[in-house]
Symmetry: C2
Amino acid sequence: MEKDERKRESRGFLLKQRAFLKLYLITLMQQKKSYGLQVLDTLTETFKPYGYQPTHSAMYEALYDLVEDGILHRQEIIPPNERFKKLVYYEFTNNGLNQAEVYKKQLKEELDRCQGLIQQAIRDNFA
Amino acid sequence: MEKDERKRESRGFLLKQRAFLKLYLITLMQQKKSYGLQVLDTLTETFKPYGYQPTHSAMYEALYDLVEDGILHRQEIIPPNERFKKLVYYEFTNNGLNQAEVYKKQLKEELDRCQGLIQQAIRDNFA
DNA sequence: GAATGAACAGGTTGTTCATAA
DNA sequence: TTATGAACAACCTGTTCATTC
């Protein structure tokens, strides 16, 4: 009957792809309102030197998360006389920008922490 | 009937905890023959500043992996007149040290790559 | 309690398929 | 083909339980 709501705690290893992508989505949306696959193209270009190629489903998951967090909301646009079914643009909700800033602040700390962890590993294993 | 052997490829995001721990286990075993939980204590101390606390099962998984890779082999020791069931020390196989060096070389590249990715993210999102 | 191990559960992520213009 | 979405499978990892001294 009862749902098994045991939460699994993070043990504090490196940050998850989901969070990483959410951070980038926020920043890109701040710079320019955009839609899913367009953003993915940008990300693919950005990460190419590092051999990281996110999938479109990973990107959509991150996008849905931001909507659920109340940071973004959907804005469907059916382009008249266009080749595409629909485009879904995303824009910040009323309070979205504030929340986004809070999130980014958290992620900054996370990234710094991860950087420290990796540098420590390089020091410890390749002295 | 057929086993579903589709391999999932990495898309090249950050390295996995498993690989990270394997690297540390190799280095620690190079420095001093040791057993599972003792190594975990060392790791816990090392990572404390970064808020990372690996679990004992994560550590054992990494250890089994190294055995399966043919790098380490088990050496059970039942300590006479001791409080413990058994200790399992690990030592390098004949070819283990060579293989270990190859693995470490790979991981060094991985770590450098991840560091680059994280620094890029810091630059891109917190300019 | 210290130590090893394995089963299990939950979440994340990559692949694939569906749908529409 | 471009774009969105969802189902599915595989993998990783954290919790828990079992066992021995």
